[in-house]
């Protein structure tokens, strides 16, 4: 079986790759493209560690085939910061110590970006439900939610 | 002489033939282990491998040099790990 040829945009750069049909987008990112920021925690869509944006929509890359990326624009954790300038969400995760082991952090940050792109002023409850698909076993979510709410305020220009 | 108490690990009682308290001529933890092994073959190694001691109330996990005073009470307890 010949491999599939896929053309897409990854983190703003034109990208081409070959993959087998059964390879998920997560497999492709990690093993073909070489972007290992998206993590495999479950490979069943239950932990969110592999979260990416596909044409701006938040998805688990483990529940998407690599071939489905044809013609799409993909954003991974590696594409969140602007050059050497951290995104406010990343900055607030650091300031609030919203990570301990850091393994779920890429997924949480990508999911938070999707949340704040859609809803710049979420309530704590809205943030908690939006992020329910991102398991974190270290933090108990407290500092994560604080970082998300604080980042939202900064992005609304209310605080720095 | 320091007094050894097996309040714990009746796992050790098998080796002491049921004796729960006895005195040992020792001035250091290391000497104690050697004496225990001499007195009750197997017990010294057991303490060495998988037990800690409380010397006059303080837990020592594995400190040969820990000093024993004549009146010291040494309690053998399971070694403590954690998560």
């Amino acid at each position: 079986m010949a491999k599939q040829h896929v053309t897409a945009t990854i983190n703003g750069e034109a990208a081409e790759f070959l993959c087998e049909t059964q390879q998920t987008m997560l497999d492709v990112l990690r093993d073909v493209v070489g972007l290992t920021g998206a993590k495999e925690g479950c490979a069943s869509g239950d932990c969110g560690a592999c979260s990416i944006l596909v044409d701006g929509t938040l998805v688990c890359s483990c529940l998407m085939l690599g071939v489905e990326a044809e013609g799409t624009s993909i954003t991974t954790i590696e594409g969140i910061a602007q050059g050497d300038h951290l995104h406010p969400i990343q900055q607030k995760f650091l300031e609030h110590a919203a990570l301990q082991c850091g393994f779920c952090t890429p997924g949480l940050i990508v999911a938070t970006k999707a949340l704040l792109d859609e809803n710049p002023n979420p309530t704590e409850t809205e943030a908690r439900y939006w992020l329910a698909g991102n398991l974190c076993r270290c933090t108990g979510y407290d500092k994560v939610i604080r970082a998300v709410m604080d980042a939202a305020a900064v992005m609304r220009g209310e605080t720095v | 002489m320091p007094k050894v108490v097996l309040s714990s690990g009746s796992a050790s009682l098998g080796l002491t033939g049921g004796v729960t308290e006895f005195e040992v001529e020792a001035t250091s933890f290391r000497r104690l282990i050697l004496e225990l092994e001499k007195r009750f073959p197997g017990l010294g190694n057991q303490v060495e491998e998988s037990m800690a001691v409380a010397i006059d109330g303080e837990i020592y996990q594995d400190a040969y040099a820990a000093e024993l005073r004549p009146g010291s009470e040494i309690v053998l307890i399971p070694k403590i790990g954690g998560g």
Partner: protein, 295 residues
């Protein structure tokens, strides 16, 4: 190695030909949130995957003679963002919204949820209650089927090898009509329904029920459309007596098994509890009393 091929046809005909022509197992891919997991688990070993998302009509929502037509592969998130659907069918929308995580919402579809044929699927009881129909396309042309005729058992559907669902039709809503869906899960999110319940009602000006469709999920091999529950509601306001009868009817209709997600005894009780709670929300919505999510 077993080879797996992939096609993303851009027309119904091309898709049907591919399905009909497949020598081995062919699976239709819409959101993939179930299919990919089942393939990884080795439950399915397809030789062909037909991605229908590039077929016109498979993704999108349109109004058609007073009702709504929802493309079979339209992601949950898109349906939830549609003001018209949310107003006319809040129960269907909230049911779809309960499937998996935000991440899954970006991909999961009504067709996938229905054709996966799990008795615990969240959007299915709501679609049963709504009286939605599925537009099925295949070699022999197009047929329109009530959604409750699609699943035939766990993981089994009435669709032929060369058929797939193109879109769903939701009928026009009379005045004083609405619906609601609730499911019970151990956590607040991310679980499979222990019990699900969907109710759609039409009331008269005095709040007396003139028409109702009720369904239960996860209490039988397939989602149940429960006429006995509807009979309890029609001709009545939602008074204490009616609620008690509805609870009893739901418990009587439920034929659950005990499994890792709940005991049979517990599921029966919860079926009754949810029926009462869902009916209350549906009635309030029908009278224009409440808006917003039921969960």
């Amino acid at each position: 190695m077993t080879s797996l091929s992939y096609a993303a046809p851009t027309s119904v005909d091309a898709a049907v030909k591919l399905l009909a022509g497949a020598s081995g197992l062919a699976k239709v891919l819409s959101g993939g949130t179930d299919l990919l997991i089942q393939m990884r688990a080795g439950r399915y070993k397809p030789e062909l995957i037909v991605d229908t998302k590039k077929i016109p009509g498979v993704i999108g929502i349109r109004e058609e003679n007073g009702g709504f037509v929802v493309g079979a592969g339209t992601p949950g998130a898109v349906v939830e963002a549609h003001a018209g659907m949310t107003k006319a069918w809040p129960g269907v929308v909230e049911a779809l919204d309960l499937i998996g995580s935000t991440q899954v919402q970006g991909r999961c579809s009504l067709a996938g949820n229905l054709c996966n044929a799990s008795p615990a699927a969240d959007s299915v009881p709501a679609m049963y209650a709504a009286g939605a129909t599925a537009v099925v396309v295949g070699s022999n042309g197009t047929r329109e089927v009530p959604v409750e005729q699609i699943p035939t058992g766990p993981g089994r559907t009435s669709l032929a090898k060369d058929e797939f669902i193109l879109e769903f039709k939701f009928p026009p809503r009379p005045a004083n009509s609405s619906d609601a869906y609730l499911r019970f899960i151990p956590r607040t999110e991310m679980d499979i329904a222990v019990v699900g319940c969907g109710i759609s009602v039409t009331l008269d000006a005095n709040g007396v029920c003139t028409a109702a469709r009720c369904s239960l999920g996860a209490v039988a091999p397939t989602v149940l459309l429960v006429q006995e529950m509807a009979d309890v509601l029609v001709g009545h306001t939602l008074d204490a007596d009616t609620l008690a009868k509805l609870d009893a009817a739901a418990q009587a209709a439920a034929k659950p098994i005990s499994d890792k997600r709940g005991t049979a005894e517990y599921r029966k009780k919860i079926a009754g509890v949810l029926a009462r709670r869902v009916a209350a929300i549906a009635f309030d919505r029908a009278m224009g009393k409440t808006a917003g999510k039921a969960h």
